[in-house]
Amino acid sequence: MSVITYREAVRQALREALLRDDRVFVMGEDVGHYGGSYAVTLGLLEEFGSERIRDTPLSESGFVGAGIGAALGGMRPIVEVMTVNFSLLALDQIMNNAASLLYMSGGQLNVPLVIRMATGAGRQVGAQHSHSLEGWFAHIPGLRILAPATVADARGMLWPALQDPDPVLIFEHAMLYNTEGELSETPEEVDIDTAAVRRVGDDVTIIAYGGTLRTALEAAEQLATDGVQCEVIDLRCLRPLDMATIRASVSRTHRMVVVDEGWRSGSLSAEIAARVSEELFYDLDAPVARVCSAEVPMPYAKHLEDEAIPQVSDVVVAVHHMVT
């Protein structure tokens, strides 16, 4: 076992993919000469050359669309979009082409494309660089949406994503890049279908993903000292949702809190809450609770940003409210 950063884990995954498959190439803004806006691709240009590590102009729609075209043409592109807010400039290509081509063509055209992007708040970069919009993308049929929350998942999810014949979007929470975790010397592939139970408990199920997993785990730790045993589920894959794992847990704990850095209205947390109420209504001992971001464009000032996004204390309060 070695301890590495999440950033290094993503970089190792990219290197492995580039070494294993000639069809893989990386393209995006500042991925080459700059080394990646989050330094994820640092050194890859020198190792793999400018044909496979392609700097693009600031043309999100153009280069995401080009990634789709290259996938149609037999390549396995990995497109990096600098941050989720910028991905809105490419939403047309992601939704109207990538997600729809297989269906519109009656099954003729696969789009084996991977798009990576940073998401989430916490760095005081304001209302145009901080949102968690992965829930929007999880709304779209035809896409697979992944949110690696651990170093092992950051390292292990890319290769299986590249084996998927359909488009896969990977959301990397910006606050995770500097976090560290243990990784086996011979990393094992992880599956990209199922949620993971990160902590076992019988009293309350806490659902989290990506940037909120650490929040949920810290809250569970505090709650354990108060005698409340929480089960923490890391969704990992936001579309399709692994309802089997959620059902198995909630039907045992009878209580659920969803922690989602997205806005509450029409969010992924809303979807999970709705499904649990549809499927497990009579198993619940308390109403489903949600801890989400405040419905504001993300503020710049530190105290306001902290207030806007889910904190450990918010989760603790929600759980206490539920068990008392």
Partner: protein, 338 residues
């Protein structure tokens, strides 16, 4: 307008100056024309629904460009793409069955008029979003470049597309990476129902491509021989490593934008003026004058095409509806590709 050396003109028909070949071009244009005319009838009896964008008047563009391509080349088209599909070799049967929403359609009835696809002939579809096909063409050409595959990707779009960001992003990417794309702009003067002069500060579209250092020129889109010759020269230049090329075809659609369009924005006089330039009678007359097409020949051609259209209608009408249990099939793949 930026001239390239030896820019083609209609008097310089080159390889196209062959009677049999020209008759073939006429037949292809007639097939598209008669097919689309029948589509109007089918729309009236509700066999075809939704949007139906007809390219009547614009056949020379689809036929001329397609003749200049090889079976290996890739095509990205627009939502007005019946002509492109037929000229590319999609059968009338599969195309019409698609318009009727049948399982036997080229997209299994999932696509309809705007979404005709055929992977085997590298026909990457119509596209209902204006300019959204251009980045796809850039990507297809990038894949060819990276895999050392020598072919052209022909990308059709209308004059309306030049206002979209994706047009400019794609011009820049294709030129920057020197990719083998043949951009084929069908300029019919109207972005849906609004004339270009009301929406563009610069109506010389070739100039826009030239500003990205892409060789660009205009061609008479009502002259199939001129279009074919220009496209052949451009495709050759692309294949020889010349990077992207841009062809602006000046054309006109004789019918409204779609079946929903009352066509209030054009003078009848203007439409009539362009109808005098109809590419089909123009070619018919030229061939007759040269003595290679008799009235009997033309009648025979019309009869054969009518039979093909009748056959396609019978095929589509007799087609099956996809079983509703397959509604969710192909949202994602149920197989792993190599």
């Amino acid at each position: 307008m930026s001239e390239i050396p030896n820019a083609p003109t209609s008097s310089n028909v080159g390889a196209a100056d062959d009677a049999q070949h020209t008759l073939h071009l006429l037949r292809e244009m007639l097939r598209i024309r008669r097919f689309e005319e029948r589509c109007v009838e089918l729309y009236s009896r509700s066999a075809i629904r939704g949007f139906l964008h007809l390219g009547i008047g614009e056949e020379a563009c689809a036929v001329g460009v397609m003749e200049a391509l090889t079976p290996e080349d890739a095509i990205v088209a627009t939502y007005r793409e019946h002509g492109h599909a037929l000229a590319r070799g999609l059968s009338m049967r599969a195309t019409l069955a698609e318009l009727e929403g049948k399982l036997e359609g080229c997209s299994r009835g999932r696509g309809g008029s705007m979404h005709l696809f055929d992977a085997t002939s590298h026909f990457y579809g119509g596209n209902g979003i204006v300019a959204a096909g251009l980045p796809l063409a850039v990507g297809l050409a990038l894949a060819d470049h990276l895999q050392g595959r020598r072919r052209v990707t022909a990308c059709f779009f209308g004059d309306g597309a030049v206002a979209e960001g994706e047009f400019h992003e794609s011009m820049n990417l294709a030129a920057l990476w020197h990719l083998p794309v043949l951009f084929c702009c069908e300029n019919n003067l109207y972005a849906m129902g609004t004339a270009l002069r009301y929406t563009e500060s610069e109506v010389d579209l070739s100039l826009k491509a030239s500003s990205y250092r892409i060789p660009a020129w205009e061609v008479d889109g009502m002259d199939v021989l001129a279009v074919e010759d220009a496209a052949r020269n451009a495709a050759q230049a692309v294949l020889e490593g010349g990077g992207p090329h841009f062809l602006e075809m000046r054309t006109y659609r004789f019918r409204a934008h779609s079946m929903y369009d009352p066509d209030r924005y054009r003078d009848k006089a203007e439409i009539d003026l362009w109808k005098h330039r109809d590419p089909i009678p123009a070619l018919t007359t030229a061939l007759s004058e040269r003595g290679v097409l008799s009235e009997g020949d033309l009648e025979r051609m019309e009869t054969e095409i009518a039979a093909e259209v009748d056959d396609a209608v019978a095929f589509a009408d007799a087609g099956t509806n996809e079983p509703i249990e397959f509604l969710e099939r192909f949202v994602t793949s149920d197989r792993v590709i190599a």
